[in-house]
Symmetry: C2
Subunit: 501 residues, 2 copies
């Protein structure tokens, strides 16, 4: 028993309890809060965040960490890992000067209003000055935090600790090189996929019952979870025993809510698989945004959009929507869920083209951080590269360079986590199929427990013990590699589009 450790752990647990309380407020705000309460909610959140921040940057934490770093006597291996991660977090929170934090917060608020106006008016020039300012501040942030390679590394670290441009560049180059011709082949295929069965009438209440049923079947523990509606679907891990998901329903498009819920269930299963006893320490926390996304994408695509899953799902669907699914076979339903169609809009993209949208954003972000392209050139650059990579051209800037809120939020370095999540999920799929050769048969029977158990053992329970890159290497025996995703795409879409690669 190390007294310094006990004190530090108690301080961190108290801070986590406050963050967890703030989580309840955040959930409430998106799902239940009366509309007129928003002003007061902002003040409640600001007060809580201020107290949490003050506790995180308290110099007493630094003193305790330093003492624990000087002598590790009495620390278990797990406690040493917590000290390592707490040091990382402490340095991240304290390296930014207060004036930069405030300037980032102010700019983000104003940039978001400007972005809303710019998008509504389809006028990039309204947003351009804010984008310029945001990236200038982000460069200052990178300098303050420090980096050894590319300044973008310092920003990536917020979402994928340890990830660098040097590590990411070759992976993304391979992915892009492999993917562009695949998309081109699919585009030229004469096979047409009919997805009209997905846009028939699907009443909301029935969808809601179905979604709960499916989430439960996947393994979400509803004694420690709930499903609600919100404008933008999300998962929030308030505590290991309180993990909530939301969705939105579209009576005329079945996959919106259903695959949204499967996606959020993937996130929830990760949170519910973290060691409950370690809550309040890094060994009770997800390792990175990318690894989280790998879990949601694994269940959404590697399980949900498969032929065996369609076979398991269809009889359930028929019970809820007997009319709309009359005469639809499991094969047809599976193909409908797997249609590839290039679109300039990232959030509407299918799983094949999606990563190309991210490649585009990653390149641009890197160059803006390095200050090697001009903000005013962005619309042109965006449209040219979109055409080259995805094969479509946005109708206008609102559907082009202005489509995402991330930059207005100041979230630079976030986009790559979507792509990494997809690559991790395909790499995990590859390994699971070798370890559990009967995976298809299990999915066809709705027996998801062995798959979940594998993820629990290989990913969830490790929390932040290893960096994401090492965790994936340990789980799959190989470092991150885009080829697993490329192989998956070929294996799946070859038969659908009658393509021999």
């Amino acid at each position: 028993m190390n007294k310094h450790y006990e004190e530090l752990a108690a301080r961190m647990r108290e801070t986590m309890m406050l963050a967890s309380a703030a989580g309840v407020l955040a959930w409430d705000q998106e799902t239940k809060m009366p509309e007129r309460a928003s002003g007061m909610r902002a003040e409640q959140m600001a007060t809580l965040s201020g107290i949490i921040h003050d506790k995180l940057i308290d110099p007493q934490n630094d003193k305790l960490l330093a003492a624990l770093e000087r002598t590790r006597k009495g620390l278990t291996p797990s406690q040493r890992i917590c000290v390592r991660e707490w040091r990382h977090d402490y340095d991240r929170s304290t390296k930014l000067p207060r004036d930069l934090i405030e300037e980032l917060a102010r700019t983000s608020t104003l940039a978001q209003s400007a972005w809303i106006k710019a998008r509504a008016a389809d006028d990039f020039s309204l947003f351009a000055p804010w984008l310029k300012k945001t990236f200038a501040l982000k460069r200052r942030q990178a300098e303050a935090v420090g980096y050894s390679g590319h300044p973008y590394d310092a920003l990536l670290d917020d979402y994928e600790p340890g990830m660098t441009v040097a590590a990411l560049d070759p992976v993304i180059a391979n992915l892009r090189e492999g993917l562009v011709p695949i998309v081109e082949r699919i585009r030229r295929s004469k096979t047409r996929v009919d997805a009209s069965c997905l846009t028939r009438r699907y009443p909301e209440d029935e969808q809601e019952a179905l979604c709960t049923e499916v989430a439960q079947a996947l393994g979400v523990d509803f004694t420690a979870s709930r499903l609600d509606r919100s404008a933008h679907p999300f998962m929030i891990g308030i505590a290991p025993t309180d993990v909530r998901i939301t969705t939105r329903f579209n009576e005329r498009f079945l996959p919106q809510a259903l695959f949204g819920v499967i996606h959020e269930s993937g996130h929830a299963l990760y949170e519910q698989g973290l060691p409950e006893k370690a809550f309040g320490t890094p060994l009770g926390e997800a390792v990175s945004t990318s690894m989280h996304e790998s879990q949601s994408r694994f269940w959404e695509n590697m399980v949900g959009r498969t032929r065996p899953f369609a076979g398991w799902l269809l009889p359930k669907l028929r019970r809820h929507f007997p009319q709309s699914l009359k005469g639809v076979s499991a094969d047809a339903f599976y193909r409908a869920l797997s249609r590839v169609r290039a679109t300039p809009i990232r959030v509407e993209a299918d799983e094949v083209t999606y990563n190309l949208h991210i490649c585009l954003r990653y390149e641009i972000e890197k160059e803006l951080v390095a200050d090697t392209i001009r903000v005013s050139d962005l619309p042109r650059i965006w449209n040219e590269r979109m055409q080259a990579m995805v094969g479509v051209r946005p109708k206008n800037d609102a559907q082009g360079v202005l489509q995402d809120i991330h930059w207005a939020h100041g979230m630079i370095g976030y986009f790559p986590t979507y792509l990494l999540g997809n690559l991790y999920s395909a790499q995990l799929r590859h390994t699971i199929r070798r370890t559990i050769p009967e995976m298809d048969a299990l999915v066809a029977k709705g027996e998801f427990a062995p798959i979940l158990q594998w993820l629990r053992t290989k990913i969830h329970r490790h929390a932040r013990r290893f960096p994401a890159a090492e965790l994936i290497r340990r789980a799959t025996g190989k470092p991150l590699d885009a080829r697993f995703f490329l192989e998956y795409v070929k294996e799946k879409y070859g038969p659908i589009y009658k393509i021999t690669w």
Copy 2:
């Protein structure tokens, strides 16, 4: 502009924001929280409460208050009132020694488990030691807080600041003296009230729609409110723009949810009528628990259980429940809602006998605080007095002395607020009917706005400007007096039970 005042106000507003955040968690816990989250929620709440308590007792508040008390230069009249009330609150929070606070909290937790067991086993002896300990601690609390008359005064002050045994005793004596013979006359009346129409089938979803409709008609602003389900109905004022109510439905007893919602709407209307700009100061807070109860009881009984209201409500009810209300006239419906029937259970009591249940508890609490009766004699004392006052005898202790959770909670001095709320509501009714002689006609048309406006002007907007006793005197021109309630009961129940008083 007084700098000390500005600093104090900012500190109190921050504390209020945290209390308000804790309110969201409390609401969530009763309405939405997944069951397995309860342990974590207790810890989140304990962390928040600890921080709030530390902020309330911070000696810097005392210094600022002392400075403001020395020189009131630059303080507006409203600010002076805030200083007065903050001083009251500060002294209340700091006068209790920490070991007593902890002992009270620990005892309350253990007493509640003992109470649950005692009630289930119908065995008062299981609860008796905890009751003894609770009252011993409450005597210590009274000594620590101080009082000039009866030690019970110090406990009353937690719920009805400024109220004393000396002021309450004669009011309660008058009430009891007047009420016991009224109850006796009603009991002897040969007129039977048929309430069977209330126990027909009322589907939950229809009840929910109706309840929202009625709350809205009364004036609840649903852009700043919402209605949910919970095991025990409540109203919570999270912020002036976020006032939530809950109810529970019984398909076989219409008034449960409907009059529950009208009651909670009364509380909500008070909260929504408090000055929004003064939130975070005593001039944005309800004056007392009793005054709050006066508002809920006013809408529930003085508006809701009247013949004009029944006339307005019945057509709405018929739209939701055409079958169950076939052939029921507004007169019959009104009488069904107004049936008087003595019961040993407080929460099931009608508005006539209800106050006698409180008289009983008030007497016993006073005597236990003064240590003039023995805890072990309570079951006998309870049953004898219940027989003498209400005219019924509990079947057993579970339905007698063990029926309420309040004592186990350590809430001594709370019961009288129910009675005061009833008396205030009748006194307000008396005055409103003189000021707005067309009140019945307005209620019959569902035009509640003038009545709400009167309450807003005379009660709500004053917040904690005056103590409750003065507020009621200013609003009605008379000090608190039980005769208004006695007159109301005679006026209403004479015709129903064909009694000439």
